[in-house]
Amino acid sequence: MDYKAIESLLEMYHLGETSLEEEAYLIDQFEHSEVQEKYPQEAAIFRYFAIKRAEALEADVFEKMALNDVIVPADLKVPDRFSFRTISRIAAVVFLLMLSGLFVYHLAVQKPIQAEVYNDSIEEPEKAYEEAKQAMLMISTLMNAGLEETQKIASFHEAEEKIKQPKL
């Protein structure tokens, strides 16, 4: 048993200068009863470390064993990053953004143009009234002329039907 080395490592351990490998070496050495008897103060600490190390190893082994026992079905579908749900969500967001863009465009560009179309071209009400009156009379006259023509054709068709009818 290399007590000199153990002693020197213990001194370093107390000063906090030991590496993980050196501490592992000390834990291994304290498994022996001679070492435990020679350094009884440190023995309790290193035996505690030995127990914890064993528990950690057991947990590691258990995890590996448990994973080995898990049976993965051959037809198991792993969730795809680009599933239908994800794509439909992205599409909905894009659609909303496009709609918002169109809405803003309509308000900023189309509306002013339309407003211009509906703005009064005449500022004086008297002149505007005269224009409106002329427009109404023009529509009225042309409409009546068209109706007159319709009546003429209707009368012609009526007469035509009468001629075609056989005399009883």
């Binding site: 909303l96 509906y118 409106a132 009225s140 006259t141 042309l142």
Partner: protein, 178 residues
């Protein structure tokens, strides 16, 4: 998820309603409003409300005022000396195709084409469009509001009109096309 779908549907309906306002005749009017060959006249509902201050004594003028008070807007696009008026008439007619406009009356003769179109909303005529296209003239008149065709028809019977010489042609030689 349901909420977002509902929101989406509401937005689509809302936006469709807004974008639908840009009707083909507005586009047509917009296209030629800046053209020097055409005379543009627009009268809005605001101006119509100012007409109520007039108090005519003549019964015919009163009748005219009554008809105008129901309107919301008038748009006129006219040209008396353009190279091919029928071309503009055809263009206007093709832009109306597929819209809610229904044909009211159509008169075609050798020199002049005339078309009356109406748009109904809730059983009432909300828009009346008149298009006239001749060899060197084009008229587009659009009335918006509550339109009573019988009342409009009476207007010209009551008043004497001058300066509408081309009407004689339409009345005399025209052929009615349904």
């Amino acid at each position: 998820m349901r909420k977002s779908i509902l929101m989406l549907v509401i937005m689509v309906i809302f936006s469709a309603n807004i974008f639908a306002q840009n009707d083909p005749m507005t586009n047509f009017f917009k296209k030629y409003a800046g053209n020097e060959l055409f005379t543009k006249v627009t009268i809005s509902s605001k101006m119509f409300s100012m007409f109520t201050h007039f108090e005519p004594n003549d019964p015919n003028e009163k009748e005219m005022m009554k008809a105008l008070s129901k309107l919301k807007s008038i748009r006129i696009l006219s040209a008396d000396s353009i190279p091919n008026g029928k071309k503009y008439f055809s263009e206007a007619m093709s832009s109306i195709k597929g819209t809610k406009f229904e044909e009211l009356m159509s008169v075609v003769d050798g020199t002049t084409d005339m078309q009356f179109m109406v748009q109904e909303t809730g059983g009432k005529i909300s828009e009346l469009l008149m298009l006239v296209g001749g060899s060197n003239k084009f008229y587009m008149l659009s009335l918006h509001g509550d339109i009573d065709l019988k009342q409009i028809s009476k207007l010209s019977e009551n008043m004497k009109i001058s300066g509408l010489e081309h009407l004689n042609k339409v009345g005399g030689n025209g052929k009615k096309k349904e």
